[in-house]
Subunit: 303 residues, 2 copies
Amino acid sequence: MIKNPASSFDLNSYLILKRKKVNAFINEILNNTASSSRIVQAMHYSLMAGGKRVRPILCIAASEAVGGNADDVLPAACALEMIHTYSLIHDDLPAMDNDNLRRGKPTCHKAFDEATAILAGDALLSLAFRILSSINLINKNNSSNQLKIIHKISFATGHNGMIEGQMRDIASEGTLLSLKKLEDMHSLKTGALIEASIFSGALLGGGSPKQIDQLEIYAKNIGLAFQVTDDILNIEGDPAVMGKAVGTDNARGKSTYPSIMGLDKSKEFAKKLVHNALQALDDFDSNSNSLRAIGYYIIERKK
Amino acid sequence: MIKNPASSFDLNSYLILKRKKVNAFINEILNNTASSSRIVQAMHYSLMAGGKRVRPILCIAASEAVGGNADDVLPAACALEMIHTYSLIHDDLPAMDNDNLRRGKPTCHKAFDEATAILAGDALLSLAFRILSSINLINKNNSSNQLKIIHKISFATGHNGMIEGQMRDIASEGTLLSLKKLEDMHSLKTGALIEASIFSGALLGGGSPKQIDQLEIYAKNIGLAFQVTDDILNIEGDPAVMGKAVGTDNARGKSTYPSIMGLDKSKEFAKKLVHNALQALDDFDSNSNSLRAIGYYIIERKK
């Protein structure tokens, strides 16, 4: 078992505080628009449907780890959540996963309609880039860094990242992937945006190139660990705690870590990944305790 | 009848030359990716389905009008075409206009499938922002201007622009809009991106604030004139020349300029708009002859 190197860190309070900040900022952005319009209602509905805010929190924690602060990266953090939400709205569509429920609530196309859901996703992606290109994004107003994060994020969300991952996910349903192909698929579908989240926080927070390199190693490992643990919870989780059904991966014939390497080896693998992630933080001071605690939490979480 | 103030300008050769440049650059971008993937094939298919390249050409012409050159703005121009193509792919989807053909070829979801079409659109939007944020976008490497065009374009494509326009277009089918509401709808759906195209070209080309203001007046007027003429052609056009059916607006119960103000008044209105557009170019030298010729062409075109 991995020892929690930041056991005195109160992760729960940290997560609550950061989620509150993120939610307040998202509400502010949407209230500044013509909120009576149906499209903004749909965007708001999906953004406020109870997401864990993993990407914005990782962005903020990465900024803090290099000595930056949360407020400076909050717009970028929220833009990342908008991109994540857009991807979920589109993934849930009838032509893709055809899901009626997400986090216990009707999916966007069920609560509104299919055209509105497609357009709400589209609008969230544009809104994310609008926020990322705002001149008020960072106090230091370093345009060159702003362009770098837009470039990184647009790469991560596109046909060399998230979109290709989703294409492979759809194509692979019902076939058993090799471990390499499964890892590539997750790395594209979810890993790239998690890495971009941490990169953005670290760059805007003023991290050195070496610090950013180390944080990217952290990101790669916890992104994958998060996925492996998701697969494990889909077998062993408690539906009452998780708020969603278990056993669905198996029923859908999806390739997962447990289906390829077995349950015990998957657990070992998740621990090894978190170990690697924490090791990448060795040269960081106590400002990175949130990232350490998040790494530890990933394999201990029950939902 | 408006006198063509740039009658000696060979618009046809100009359009052929610029289209060639745009097509070559788009091909280069897509060939630099893993082109064997299905998603890139779908993106390529729709990008190369015979578009007129109106937005990239306006971007290039605006740059030239302020003394810039085509090659410096070519990446931005092509990014604008990717955004336009993404919007067409999504508009054609079964949940929206449910069109099987575009420019005589099967629409993306017919040639591939619905999931691929949704994702190809998504990927084109991300690719556009990836190109716009590339450090090689402009020779002068003025990050601040790059951010400004990303901001303008992401505003134009989002819930205060194109997306809201499409929402209103869907909602209005079968009802007769007021002239004001019809204008607002087109201004959002197509006007905003045309204005952003001209703004981007003018800013990257080194235009002064006053020049950019004048070009924005030009853009607003020709954007609307283009739409009014489209509505007129849908009644009077020759299907053989246009390569698409006429009378479809009426059959679908769509509000159009002729349906609201009559055919003759619509023609007068289009001429007045082009007159206003050309007037906005009064202080520009002969480098703006392409913009003048394009304005003139808009009301004379047969397809």
